[in-house]
Amino acid sequence: MQTVKMVVTGPFSAGKTEFIRSVSEIDVVSTERKISTAAEKAVKEATTVAMDFGRITVDDDLVLYLFGTPGQKRFDFMWEILSEGMLGFIVMVDSTRPETFREARSILETFRAYAPTPYVVAANKQDKKDAWDPEDMRHVLRLDSKVKFLPCIATEKSSVKSILLELLYSILAEMERGEK
C-alpha cells in the first residue's frame, strides 16, 4: 500500500479540524482537549493539541492522509514533525478574525522554511457575514499574486474538495516545471 500525505495548518480556530472532517472517510482521529485560557475559550471550547488525522482511500494501492496541525503556538514543536514528507500544505485563515492574520503569515513562512513544497492558502468562513474580502486579506497577508488564495467554507465538502484539487494542480504544475 502506497501512502502520501498533505498537511493542513493555520492559526488557532482557523477551521483545520472541520476541513479534514469534511472529506475524511474515517472519523477524524482528533487529539482535542478542553481549552484552558479564558481568551481562547471565548472562541471555541476544545482545540487540537497534537494533530488531527484523516484518510482518503484513492484505490487498492494508494491512500492519502490528511494531517491537521495544532494551532496554538505552544504546540508548534509538532509542526516540523508533521511537515516531514508532505506532498503539499494548506494554510487555513479565519476570514472573520483579522487578529490572526499576522500569525497565519508567520505559520506560512515557517512551513515554507521546513519544505519547499507547493501550498495554497484558504480564506475560511467566507459564509460568515463579518468575513473579510479575500482580496483585502491577500494584501494583509502579503501574498504574491502567484500564490493561490482561495475562498473556503471548511464545513462544506464541495469547498474543501476544490481547495484540495487546487493544491494537487499546483503539485502537478510544479512537477511539470521541474521536467523542463
Binding site: V4, D59, A113
Partner: protein, 271 residues
C-alpha cells in the same frame, strides 16, 4: 540559595523586576546563546554591567561615546594602560578633560545598553550570586531599574511581534519584482542602506546581521520595515544545502509520481 533558572520561564524583564522589588545586592549571571553577561546590583539598582569575557575599560567606553578624541585615547593606551578605571577617571577629572557627571552618565548609558541587548535573549540560563559585586577598581553607578523595565517590556512586545513576522533568520532576502519602485527614491536610514547593500538570495538574514554588526532585534526591525514597504521578500537562501529530503512520493519514477497525483485528483473529484 541562589536564584537560578531558565530564560524561557523567566524573562530578563521579570528578573529585573524581582531584583528591583527585593532590593537585591549581588550579580546576575546570564548565559545566553553566544555570550555570558554579568549585571551587578546594589540595593536593587544597577551598579555595573559586562558582556563577554573581556572587560571594556573606561577609556574605550568614553572614546566610543566621542568623549575622548582619538589622540587622547591613544595617549591613554600608551601611557596609562595599567591604571584602573577609578584612577583613570580621577586623572581625567583632575586634568579638566571631563566632569564626574560626564563619566557617570557615559557609564550609565553603556551599562543600560548592555541590559537592552539582554532583552533580546530568550534562550539561556541565569543565576544570581548574592552579595557578589564587581572588583573595587571598577567604577559603579546607581541606575534605577524602573525605566529599564518599562523599556524592556516594550522591547519584549516588539520582539515577540517581530519574531512572529520573521520567524527564522536562516532565510534570505531578495528584492521584489516591482518595476515601478526605484530604491533611490525611497528614504532609507544609514542602517537600512547598510542592510540593503547585503541583500542577495545568497546571504541569510543572520549573515547580514553579522556583517552589519546588528543584534537580532535590530536586524529584524529593519527587515520588517523593508518587508512592510514591499521592497524585499523572504526567500530560501541560494546554494544552501536543501532541507534533509524526506521521501514525499512512494516512488522515484517521475511518470509514476505524476500518475499518482492524477489518481489523487480523480479521487478527490469523485468525493
Amino acid at each position: 540559595m541562589a536564584l537560578r533558572g531558565n530564560l524561557r520561564d523567566f524573562t530578563i524583564t521579570q528578573l529585573l523586576n524581582l531584583i528591583n522589588l527585593a532590593r537585591k545586592t549581588g550579580t546576575l549571571v546570564v548565559d545566553g546563546p553566544s555570550d555570558t553577561a554579568h549585571l551587578a546590583f546594589r540595593d536593587g539598582k544597577l551598579a555595573y554591567a559586562q558582556i563577554g569575557k573581556t572587560v571594556t575599560g573606561l577609556a574605550v567606553i568614553l572614546h566610543n561615546a566621542n568623549k575622548l578624541s582619538s589622540g587622547q585615547y591613544k595617549a591613554i593606551q600608551q601611557r596609562a594602560s595599567n591604571i584602573s578605571d577609578k584612577e583613570l577617571g580621577l586623572l581625567l577629572i583632575n586634568a579638566g578633560y571631563l566632569t564626574k557627571e560626564d563619566i557617570l552618565t557615559q557609564l550609565q548609558l553603556y551599562f543600560a545598553g548592555i541590559v537592552h541587548r539582554l532583552f533580546t535573549w530568550v534562550e539561556g540560563s541565569f543565576h544570581f550570586e548574592n552579595e557578589m559585586l564587581p572588583p573595587d577598581d571598577r567604577i559603579s553607578v546607581r541606575l534605577d531599574l524602573e525605566n529599564l523595565i518599562i523599556e524592556g517590556s516594550r522591547q519584549l512586545r516588539e520582539w515577540e511581534q517581530l519574531q512572529d513576522e520573521i520567524p527564522s533568520l536562516d532565510m534570505a532576502l531578495k528584492f521584489t519584482d516591482r518595476p515601478g519602485v526605484n530604491l533611490r527614491n525611497v528614504n532609507l536610514s544609514v542602517e537600512e542602506w547598510r542592510v540593503v547593500s547585503y541583500i542577495n538570495p545568497k546571504n541569510t538574514i543572520k549573515q547580514i546581521a553579522n556583517a552589519t554588526k546588528m543584534n537580532d532585534l535590530e536586524i529584524r526591525r529593519i527587515v520588517y520595515g523593508l518587508l512592510q514597504a514591499g521592497l524585499v521578500e523572504i526567500c530560501r537562501p541560494e546554494g544552501a544545502s536543501p532541507a534533509p529530503q524526506v521521501r514525499v512520493f512512494p516512488t522515484e519514477d517521475r511518470d509514476e509520481q505524476k500518475s499518482l497525483v492524477n489518481r489523487l485528483i480523480s479521487r478527490i473529484r469523485s468525493l
